[in-house]
Homo-oligomer: 352 residues x 2
């Protein structure tokens, strides 16, 4: 800690004066333009450090036209799917000297609109839209301004609009086949909110993968959830009413699976002895469950990385032709919530 200058605001001029150079030289030094005389540079740096000077980003941004901010729109920070995305996004941003403007829509179109306004007002250089659902709604403004955008799993790409395509099929196939290998035949599926493209796709993949290996799907075993724990509990209650229980249930996301586990806990149904449960997403919490949840991983870290680099390359390369496409594979993570199908018998007794 050095004794530091405490008087009126120190700016580039103050530095220039004290280092006996022009503001231009100070600017060049700070921006590490190679042509500056090392002598002078050292003088400048020493004053900079002595005074604890930090350049004013606003001014920089204003004149350069570069805010060095990327927007990151999520639906809810408290949704366990997002913290890792935010963390990784931030880590990479720091490395690249970017700031991140994080906004959440909390599933409210008005909030989405406000998010977009905030992004524009702060002149972000790009926006990663990680909210599964309200994408198209209010983003025209951003597109019109040619702000680079990156979506997950949305329609056709446009100029400056990149897309991360999720290969849901791969992981779901692994899960279905894993279950089949464990002798499960009555496999249930709890969907997400079906207006969500990603949720609908997951269901389709499930159906496809079942058919693929010649397993029939009892329509009664497909029930709708809403990607929340409560939804999972309700949905599983439905399943419980079936004359013949499923021996395994695949869920459209982990929170749903957690709901199923809780309901089982209440009913004295033992996982995986009585029922195998598979989630989707592989949020952190999946590992913390008892038993740890077998789930289909869609790496949040990787998603964040792809999103960031999509924006970065839009910003660096003018060359981006027509919005790039990125791909993210899903794959099964085996843990302890799946096991051999119970030999057929009637529903296990509820134990106190």
């Amino acid at each position: 800690m050095l004794a530091q200058y405490c008087g009126p605001p120190m700016d580039i001029r103050e530095i220039a004066k004290r280092a006996k150079v022009s503001t231009a030289t100070v600017s060049r030094t700070i921006n590490r333009v190679p042509s500056v005389n090392p002598q002078l540079a050292r003088r400048v740096w020493s004053v900079v450090e002595e005074l604890g000077y930090y350049p004013n980003t606003q001014a920089r941004a204003l004149v350069s036209g570069k805010s060095r901010i990327f927007g990151l729109i999520v639906s809810e920070i408290t949704n366990p799917f997002f913290p890792e995305i935010v963390q990784v996004f931030e880590n990479i941003a720091v490395q690249h000297g970017y700031e991140i403007l994080l906004t959440s829509t909390v599933h409210d179109p008005k909030r989405m609109e406000i998010s977009v306004r905030r992004m524009i007002e702060r002149r972000v250089e790009g926006v990663a839209v990680m909210t599964f659902g309200m994408e198209e709604l209010v983003l025209e403004d951003l597109k019109l301004r040619n702000v680079p955008l990156v979506f997950v799993d949305v329609g056709p790409s446009r100029a400056h609009v990149s897309n991360i395509r999720i290969d849901y099929l791969h992981g779901i196939r692994q899960a279905v086949q894993h279950l089949a290998a464990l002798r499960h035949e009555r496999i249930a599926f709890i969907t997400g909110p079906l207006q969500l493209r990603s949720a609908a796709t997951r269901q389709q993949c499930f159906l496809h993968c079942m058919e693929e290996i010649g397993l029939t799907v009892d329509p009664k075993l497909i029930v709708e959830g809403d990607h929340t724990m409560e939804g999972g509990m309700v949905a599983f209650s439905q399943l419980l009413k079936q004359p013949v229980m499923p021996t395994a249930v695949l869920c459209s996301n982990d929170m749903t699976a957690i709901g199923v586990m809780r309901r089982c806990h209440e009913e004295g149904i033992l996982i995986p002895r009585d029922l195998s449960v598979v989630g989707f997403d592989d949020i952190r919490m999946a590992q913390f469950m008892l038993p740890p949840l077998t789930t289909i991983q869609m790496s949040q870290a990787e998603l964040a990385r792809l999103a960031f680099h999509a924006l970065l390359s839009e910003v660096q390369n003018e060359s981006a032709p027509n919005g790039a496409e990125y791909f993210l594979k899903t794959s099964l993570v085996l843990r302890e919530s799946t096991g051999l199908a119970p030999s057929r018998k009637s529903r296990p007794e509820k134990s106190g």
Copy 2:
């Protein structure tokens, strides 16, 4: 969606020209200065909307000296303690027209230093420091610049430095007495990393509350954890080696408790039948555990609210005398991980 202007950057001048007024009038209109002629105002607004004009925050900030950004430093966004804080902080910020600059230290002093630099460069109007531990280290820079600061649970207040004091005692007393009422006598405590002030305090409170009701604490039943699940597992393994097991264990945070639960699961120890477990923090995940975790709540939402308003009032009131103090109570949330102490197999000797 209106057809929108697509040409070169639209700025306040463009608006002025089209509305046939001066830039000053546009500025006043946008800032809702009451003195503008409603006639003109309407003309301005219509152009603004037609062109989809959004003022440039950087320019505004530069000239006004107000960035309308608050910094929020956390230790790790993926730490389940923080998402709710971030969410609530953001919600309130939006309402007040503030942006939030979120940084995480990931327990790295260098990252903390970078965080501080980022804050200063963006000229934040205040910083909430929600990282329990590395507070003092690198914050001199911020203090010197008279940036309003708010800490949790840190030393004496200074000018422009507010503090949120946590009343750990209240919740811990409730927990200990709850356990005592359930006939528990051998109560273990798993600490956090003891260099953390908050962790040390929690332990002291535990000791105090035990003594208060005349329960003796077996030193062997105090083991050190590190606020992670793994730490909780290791710590509980220690406890398992005791000749006489504790019947209840109080943990310095929820992740530790989750570690205990996992270890119990592995060992076939049933919660709460064989062991009662109490956590601390009440992170969301606590509700999702099986059984749902009884824990001492330290409301993250309230913490965020207090922190935000601490900063806001520093910024609004020049009147802040010498850093305000805020208080946050903790209190027990009963769920299902605690129950009557199991009847003892061997009675411990009582010396009188």
